[in-house]
């Protein structure tokens, strides 16, 4: 079966969920081989990759992969592509994943498709563009198809494979060591899941009225184990940190459940959340365009509806 390379996204030695989604997807395209780049490839992490179908795990360690920005990873991956001639390379659609894919495309003279939400057996990729308004099918027509896939596009399903560890020596050129990482700063996460990966996102907009108003949004998020998002109106006003912005100029999310509170639903915001599977809306304006997207909507004051919802969730779980 054709080999499909899957770039592993990992943090602190643990495999991220998006990787398991990509392995699941890769099984429908051929035989997945995971590519672990950077330090921390523990036996436990490798076992997870095997459990989700990696026949082989290429492990490329060495401080060069951790200490320099993107370029060494693209270089190592290009070497693997040259050696293995895979049928395709799947990369998580994170900011860094897309950069790795872009550089790999240049190095291997290959076409690249970003932000796919599905990939068919013939390697036709589905993209949801212009904020989910248009669905596009496209194919790479030259070289090795390089496709970055959005988190939450596939439900991860275990299907054990050998997961044979193959160590690959990293040979990184000086040219790829131009941008050195001199320090890492971990921002306060407050124990919530990452916005782009979260299964549930609870977000607030102009209707939240101020930074203190985000307290009710956060409380609801925590009752559901959700990530918190914000509309541009809220981040521009300084009510919530900018990195949580969902929308055309912020993050694109596609969770199982999206709860929009006090968000009108301007195209700028819809562009970042329209492909969410289930959308719940709370807004006091019955004319707000966000209601067009709602699977379930409540016209009402979020400051009474949302705390009640949080309470009810607590009760029903008790």
């Amino acid at each position: 079966m054709a080999e499909i390379l899957v770039v592993v996204d990992h943090a602190e030695g643990a495999v991220k969920k998006v990787t398991l989604e990509l392995l699941t997807l890769a099984r429908s395209l051929g035989e997945p081989s995971a590519v672990w780049m950077g330090s921390g490839a523990s036996a436990e992490a490798l076992a997870t990759l095997a459990e989700y179908g990696a026949a082989t795990v290429y492990v490329v360690e060495g401080s060069d992969l951790d200490d320099y920005v993107v370029a060494p990873k693209a270089e190592v991956l290009a070497q693997l592509v040259a050696e293995k001639s895979p049928a395709a390379v799947l990369v998580p659609s994170s900011a860094e994943g897309k950069e790795i894919a872009g550089r790999l495309a240049v190095k291997t003279n290959s076409g690249v498709i970003t932000d796919a939400v599905a990939v068919d057996a013939d390697l036709t990729a589905t993209q949801s563009v212009f904020g989910g308004a248009v669905v596009v099918h496209s194919r790479v027509s030259n070289g090795t198809p390089i496709i970055t896939v959005r988190p939450n596009s596939t439900t991860p399903e275990a299907s054990a494979a050998a997961g044979t560890r193959v160590d690959v020596a990293a040979s990184v050129s000086d040219a790829a060591k131009g941008a050195k990482v001199t320090g890492r700063t971990v921002a306060q996460k407050g124990g919530r899941p990452e916005l782009s990966e979260a299964a549930i996102v609870v977000s607030g907009g102009r209707g939240v009225g101020g930074s203190e108003g985000f307290g009710v949004v956060e409380a609801l998020a925590d009752s559901l184990g959700a990530a918190v998002g914000a509309s541009r109106a809220a981040t521009d006003a300084g009510w919530y940190p900018h990195q949580f912005q969902v929308g055309q100029t912020g993050k694109t999310v596609s969770p199982q459940l999206y709860i929009a509170n006090g968000i009108s639903g301007a195209i700028q915001h819809r562009a970042g959340m329209q492909t969410s599977k289930t959308i719940v809306v709370v807004n006091k304006d019955p004319e707000a365009p966000i209601f067009e997207l709602a699977d379930f909507g409540v016209v009402g004051d979020l400051f009474s509806v949302v705390p009640q919802l949080t309470d009810e969730i607590g009760k029903r779980r008790a």
Binding site: A11, G102, V134, S138, T249, I267, R317
Partner: protein
């Protein structure tokens, strides 16, 4: 120091974007073309660095005739000169071709820094800065939320999933900046008038020595098979809160097995 700031003309952020039925490319005519919002931060950062360190900021753009307006917009903010790559054969170019053309337009001009916005609001691929760095063999300092130049070194805070990385590179380097790195200035009346007199060099593919066959739709290494408007979502249930709105959502979430 000499800074290039690469900008793109895109359909207005607030407008509905469409693909054309004949060749599946972006319909640029149906909406007003504006300077990609995320590139405004790149222009502002370039201007601030020039104000702090001296030198000049040159706007570089690839795009149809009309993208000249976008170059002028950046000049009216305060950039010193422009380079506009315009050629009918560029229509339909993918990110690979775009990065190849930009690299040709940028190389050999002695730029210390090449600054991009983090992505365009139309294609949203976010790959061109990394591709240009790859093609030019320059350090890639992208997704910066803070940029400082000290002598021949650039230091930046690169936004990551977990926070940020402190990154350091020798000049020349390719930088991309994220939204909110700064507050982009509005062009003043004086700036708008001055922009009309600033030099803009217009370059074609043959000026750059790029083969027409390597760019455009024919030279793209990915192709759209088909596209369709997403079918409108089936209308959901909307209720008015009469004191039990929260509980009703909870009922719905139970029914949908979220709780």
């Amino acid at each position: 120091m000499k800074i290039a700031v690469c900008v793109k003309q895109v359909p207005d952020t607030w407008a509905e974007k469409k693909l054309k039925s004949d060749d599946s490319t972006l319909d640029r005519e149906s909406a007003e073309g504006v300077l990609n919002e995320l590139d405004e931060y790149a222009v502002e950062e370039a201007l601030r660095l020039v104000e702090a360190h001296g030198g000049e900021a040159v706007v570089v753009s690839m795009g149809p005739e009309r993208a000249g307006e976008t170059v002028r917009k950046a000049l009216s903010m305060g950039a010193d000169a422009g380079i506009h790559v315009v050629d009918d054969n560029l229509h339909g170019s993918d990110a690979l071709a775009t990065s190849a053309v930009l690299a040709k337009a940028l190389e050999g001009r002695g730029f210390d820094l090449i600054i991009f916005g983090s992505e365009s609001t139309d294609a949203r691929m976010s790959v061109v800065p990394a591709m240009v760095a790859e093609r030019l063999g320059l350090p890639q300092v992208t997704f910066a939320q803070k940029v400082e130049v000290d002598g021949s070194t650039v230091r930046a805070e690169r936004l990551t999933e977990y926070g940020f990385d402190s990154v350091e590179a020798a000049l020349p380097a390719v930088v991309s900046v994220v939204e909110k790195i700064n507050e982009p200035r509005y062009p003043s009346f004086k700036g708008i008038m001055a922009a009309k007199k600033k030099p803009v060099e217009t370059l074609t593919l043959s000026d750059l020595g790029v083969e027409a066959a390597a760019v455009g739709l024919a030279g793209a290494w990915s192709a759209v098979a088909d596209f369709a408007q997403r079918p409108p979502k089936a209308a959901g249930t909307v209720v008015t809160d009469e004191g039990e709105g929260g509980a009703r959502i909870a009922d719905y979430l139970v029914e949908q097995k979220f709780i």
